[in-house]
């Protein structure tokens, strides 16, 4: 599509020394202007990132706090140990389950809500928009309290189920139901963000395409599937990537609701890393976070592959 790409520059005579000097000065000036950003980036972004990567190949723990350079290099030992730790593997499995279930679910529900708000609902539209967006801006602490009320054994959800004659489980303390409960909670919390993105994207779908399709006799479903969805592809890709990245780092929900329990059934990779940092195993925890980082890169690549531009 971007056809105006770089065509080869016109061949010209080699630059004179004066021109070269000027070019060098301009480069220098450019770097000078970029300096504040470059310095900040190196000190506060690149430095810690590289530092933690190096740290993941050492045996640093709390005892080395005062003398961080007096640690031994242990190569990939930390990584080997990680993959031998059944709890870490369990946390990866939990995180994987969480992402695979929660990302599509959040996107599907957010798309449904966005469509309803865009086409179906006319009255109180603002009320609904605010309603669906509120969880996004509400503090996790407040959310945790509300969801505890909902999920506790004699809570709202089980009260409702009892009306239907079903005896609900103790959601958060059941090894079977704790993770699904947290998935529901995370989906509920994140629908709002995607809804806003999808609403904007829906408004950007060209009306003419729909009209043309209607003239050709396409029904609503066909138009949705063949016009709306392809037109929204960039928005869908964007949502898939940010939700995927966010959900891979799934942490707040288990932290406030279950602390990874019962029996590690809601232990996420980020939660595991957090615990290891808490134990003072800094190097080991860094290694765990790099495994998670790699997983995020891989997931993003897959998503770009599946959802990216098809035409080229």
């Amino acid at each position: 599509m971007t056809a105006v790409a770089t065509s080869a520059p016109p061949r010209s005579a080699p630059p004179s020394p004066a021109m070269r000097r000027r070019a060098r000065r301009m480069t220098l000036t450019a770097w000078l202007f970029a300096l504040p950003f470059v310095v900040l980036f190196l000190v506060f972004m690149a430095g810690p990132i590289v530092g933690s990567l190096v740290m993941s190949f050492t045996d640093m723990t709390t005892r080395d706090l005062q003398t961080p350079f007096q640690v031994n290099i242990v190569g990939i030992d930390n990584y080997v140990r990680l993959f031998q730790d059944p709890r870490f593997l369990r946390s990866l499995l939990n995180t994987f389950t969480f992402v695979v279930v929660a990302v599509p679910l959040t996107m599907a529900l957010a798309l449904a809500v966005a469509l309803a708000l865009d086409k179906g609902i006319r009255r109180f539209r603002t009320v609904y928009r605010v309603g669906f967006y509120t969880p996004v801006v509400t503090s996790i602490v407040a959310i945790a309290i509300v969801w505890r009320f909902i999920l506790q054994p004699d809570g709202l959800l089980n009260g409702f189920l009892a009306l239907l004659g079903i005896q609900g489980p103790d959601w958060l303390q059941s090894t079977t139901w704790a993770l699904p409960s947290l998935i529901a909670m995370a989906v509920w919390r994140n629908i709002g963000t995607l809804m806003v993105i999808f609403l904007a994207a829906l408004q950007g779908v060209p009306r003419e395409h729909h009209e043309a399709a209607m003239v050709d006799g396409a029904n609503a479903w066909q138009r949705f599937w063949n016009i709306t969805i392809p037109a929204m592809r960039p928005a869908i890709l964007f949502s898939a990537v940010i939700t995927g990245i966010g959900f891979l780092q799934f942490f707040e929900e288990p932290f406030v609701m279950t602390r990874g329990g019962p029996l590690d059934s809601t232990l996420s990779a980020a939660m595991y890393t957090f615990q290891q940092f808490g134990f003072g195993n800094y190097a080991y925890a860094s290694a765990a976070s790099y495994v998670l980082f790699l997983a995020i890169v891989v997931l993003a690549l897959i998503q770009f592959r599946l959802l990216g531009r098809k035409e080229d």
Partner: protein
């Protein structure tokens, strides 16, 4: 390019200096010179957490009055971030002069070499409760002093016990009977125990101590989880869930008071802070419906002790004044006024002779229990080892493993984690 340089420098620095002594900074430390009796001078910063951080100002005002040339600045640090902040301060070399510490953190931070050993003759070791003095000792060197203590006793409903005609239990057999009797008198659950999860080791470890078991062997080199005492402790703990005496559900803070007040739960273990909570929430008449008693036991009636310690950093610019403040805070009179400000229990035994404690029906029980209380060993890896106990205890109470397998797993994992020394 610059990034490459950073990596290179980092890698060189790392390759250049491996760990020299193979262990932490702790162990070889020598206590500094003694502290004299002259008034303290200069400036001091003290970090304190939670409620202590909020009200410590009130207490140190008295210290400043007695030592006119000293000025003490108290920084309140929230408990949730305190551990990380101390770690960051040590790494950055920006430590305060004195900090309050959770008793279980001493081993971990002492290993960094950031704390100064308690000077010879600063305080009398035997003035403190034995179990709580041990929380400050790492490899036979004391770092700071215990400041206040906390211990668990058994809270129970006196009205239900009376109705069932039982006396507060002293042994395990009586304990089981007692909790069953509370159930027959109307409580849904005889006693509330966490089936697992964060810090549930604090409930099962005393059961091992009560039979003479322990976490480490006598010279502190090996874990001793694979012993009959631990297996028995796990078996006994599990029996409360198997026999339907304890609810297989963890009550979070806030739930337990309500369940106890409305009679759903007949008994539970907790520290001193629950007395005022129950009196507040249960109303005047509830005071007659509950009492506290020493924990039931086997060979001994040992309970768990925790609390807060004070430590002085090596980097302090005002060493003498820092230790003088610590010494002042460990005087019996100071500790009594501190109780009145903060409701923290004194770590110094002499303070307990004061009628504030000896004549109070609740506090006197805590005082008695403190004579037989124990803390986990001050090893840097304790947080990690105890998390393994939490997990295995949960598997046991849920019936996913047997007590014998659980303690074998704990032993094996604890050994691979190590004592950190």
């Amino acid at each position: 390019m610059a990034v490459g340089a950073v990596t290179l420098v980092g890698a060189l620095a790392l390759a250049g200096c491996g760990r020299s002594d193979g262990g932490g900074g702790a162990g070889g430390d020598q206590a500094g010179e003694a502290i004299d009796d002259s008034p303290a001078t200069g400036e001091l910063t003290v970090w304190a957490m939670g409620n202590e951080g909020e009200v410590l100002d009130e207490l140190v005002a008295q210290f400043e009055e007695e030592n006119p040339d000293v000025s003490v600045e108290v920084t309140a640090v929230p408990w949730e971030s305190a551990h990380d902040r101390i770690a960051t301060a040590i790494a950055g070399g920006e430590t305060p002069d004195i900090t309050m510490l959770g008793t279980t953190w001493v081993g971990e931070f002492a290993a960094t070499g950031a704390f100064e050993p308690t000077p010879e003759g600063l305080v009398d070791e035997s003035a403190f409760f034995e179990g709580s003095w041990e929380t400050a000792v790492v490899d036979d060197v004391a770092y700071g002093v215990p400041w206040y203590v906390d211990t668990r006793v058994l809270y129970y409903r006196t009205d239900l016990a009376e109705q069932a005609g039982v006396e507060p239990p002293t042994t395990w057999e009586e304990y089981t009977e007692f909790t069953k009797a509370l159930q027959s008198a109307g409580a849904t659950w005889g006693v509330s125990l966490p089936p697992g999860g964060f810090d549930s080791w604090q409930y099962v470890t005393p059961l091992a101590w009560q039979q003479g078991g322990d976490i480490l062997n006598d010279d502190g080199t090996e874990f001793t989880f694979d012993t009959p005492e631990w297996e028995e402790a796990f078996t006994y703990y599990k029996s409360f869930f198997d026999e339907g005496i304890a609810e297989p559900r963890r009550l979070e803070g806030g739930e337990i008071e309500q369940a106890f007040i409305n009679g759903e739960v007949g008994a539970f273990y907790s520290g001193p802070f629950h007395v005022s909570l129950l009196l507040d929430q249960g109303g005047e008449e509830f005071a007659d419906k509950f009492a506290v008693t020493m924990v039931p036991g086997a060979d001994s009636r040992t309970s768990f002790t925790g609390g807060g310690n004070l430590a002085v950093f090596e980097d302090t610019d005002n060493r003498d004044a820092a230790w003088k403040l610590v010494r002042w805070l460990s005087q019996p009179e100071t500790q009594i006024s501190w109780y009145k400000i903060s409701t923290d229990l004194p770590s110094v035994q002499a303070a307990w002779d004061d009628p504030t404690f000896s004549e109070d029906p609740y506090l006197s029980v805590f005082g008695e229990q403190l004579q037989d209380s124990k803390a986990p060993p001050a090893i840097p890896t304790w947080a990690q080892v105890s998390a393994v106990i939490d997990q295995e205890l949960e598997k046991t109470t849920r019936g996913e493993t047997t007590p014998a397998d659980a303690i074998a797993t704990i032993q094996q994992q604890a050994q691979s984690i190590g004592t950190g020394n």
